[in-house]
Amino acid sequence: MIDKLDQVFVLLTQWVVGFLPAFLQPVAVVVIAVAAILVTFPGLFAICVLLERKGLGRMQNRIGPNRVGPFGLLQPVADGLKSLTKEDLVPLSADAAVHFLAPVFLVVVVFMGYAVLPVGRNMTLVNMDAGLLFYFAMGASTELSVFMAGWSSRNKYSLLGAMRAVAQMISYEVPLLMSSVAVVMITGSLSLNAIVDAQNVYTWGLPHWYIFTPWGFAGFVMFATAATAETNRSPFDLPEGESELVAGYFTEYSGFKFAEFFLGEYVGMLSISGLGATLFLGGWSAPLQVLGFVPSWIWFFGKVMLSMCVFIWLRGTLPRLRQDQLMNFAWKFVLPFTMLNLFVAAAWRFMGDGWLRWVVCSAVLVIAYVVMGRVGMRRKHFGPRSYRYAE
């Protein structure tokens, strides 16, 4: 019974496919899985938007949406209908083809990332040998869509927003990759299924998640920071800083194309949360061995929604950074720290079992964190800002 519940979606797919002739079955399995992804994550997107509007309302001492349906629960439906029926404006001077392609490209690329995410036991669409690389290849392609949107609008705010976004995404992609490389070094595989399997081991009923190791904890913090910047979320939401740039690169988008950007942003957040959970939080494995009877997909989606709540919490708490702070933080703090973390992960791998590696690895990371923070603060001279431009 417990196994049945764990594999309920897999069994359901097999049952449906069983009605089809044999030569159609492999195709049908893929089509059903893709359809499931295309239904589940936009559904979660609607829940997240409601959660965000309600949660931010609470944090800012107001009520939030409460007019559509009981407690405003039908608000996402109303939002969707509104964006479908709104007029689709394209500026006269805009580059119509690129303007149209940008949101489509974004949504396509963002959904591609789900192809390799293991959302449950035996629930990966494609188990690739180089799955992590595939995910990052798709993530890197979103930058192009942001640029296309900003450039084709022929609007200075759009272009400035796109330039900011691309610069920020390139800068934070490096620490994002480097913090994941530590996981790959320890696991010895780029396959996300292998990474989950390596963490799905228990000692005294406690899991071997990578976040519970010194290098894993440091890596997870760096990964979360870089992921927040990569998805253009507050406090790194300069590309769409409303007080400066109207809405950044999607200023000139309205109606359903705007909704596509919105969908792309949230689905991207869900997907990078899923990747973070897979890399550091054990993917679909249970947090305690005694809880192993709960279906694996519940744990995966629970972890994803938990990190979405953290995203919302951060947005309600932290003020927006300045452009130079953003860049300094990426290149002078996060990047050196992820590099150090690679060495620590290598030391962890080669020091063998025992308590010594815990002490050494933790000490190196804590000392580096304190020293880098102190030195960085001492060099800071408060006063008028000075800029240096590349020519």
């Binding site: 690129v98 690739m128 180089a130 290849a137 798709m138 930058e143 450039w151 691309v166 780029l190």
Partner: protein, 169 residues
């Protein structure tokens, strides 16, 4: 050589042609990314996952972005009034032919240079781990040289781009 191959290569060739023939420079850059994507898909169709994904990650995620950045930051994306076509088509043709000849010569000679060239009938299965082991053992010297060159180029670019700060107070 099946239907997928013709579809993908058609896409790559169309992208490359558009990159050369379009008037607007940014459109050319975007068409070039289509060609890059086509080449990545060809790699994937041949079963070379690592090469294909690295192609997407490096060429679409970084090189294409740098190209459009360079276009926007330097000359502006508007089409120059006197057309985009070169005034010296014969020189360009000669250079293109020379590059093509060198590449073709290298490709044609590569089969005999590989160990075990006689048994090329079965496609080799290369995992990412094999590539990593090869890079870290047999090809470690070229790897290190490339890394050193790239670092030097990076530092050099920063120094060239950043003008000297005046000795202010």
């Amino acid at each position: 050589m099946n239907f997928a191959f013709y579809l993908i290569s058609g896409l790559a060739v169309a992208g490359a042609l558009a990159a050369v023939l379009l008037k607007n420079t940014v459109h050319c850059a975007l068409a070039l990314t289509v060609a890059f994507a086509g080449i990545a898909m060809l790699f994937l169709q041949l079963g070379a996952q690592f090469a294909g994904f690295a192609q997407i990650l490096v060429y679409i995620g970084a090189v294409a972005i740098l190209v459009v950045f360079a276009i926007l930051l330097t000359r502006g994306s508007e089409t120059p009034r006197d057309g985009v076509y070169s005034k010296f088509p014969l020189t360009g043709l000669a250079i293109a032919a020379a590059v093509f000849a060198v590449l073709g010569w290298a490709v044609l000679n590569s089969a005999s240079a590989l160990p075990g060239a006689e048994t090329t009938s079965a496609a080799p299965t290369v995992t990412v781990m094999d590539i990593g082991n090869a890079l870290m053992s047999r090809y470690v010297l070229p790897l290190e040289i490339v890394a050193l060159l790239l670092t030097a180029a990076l530092i050099g670019a920063v120094i060239v781009a950043m003008h000297e700060k005046e000795e202010a107070n």
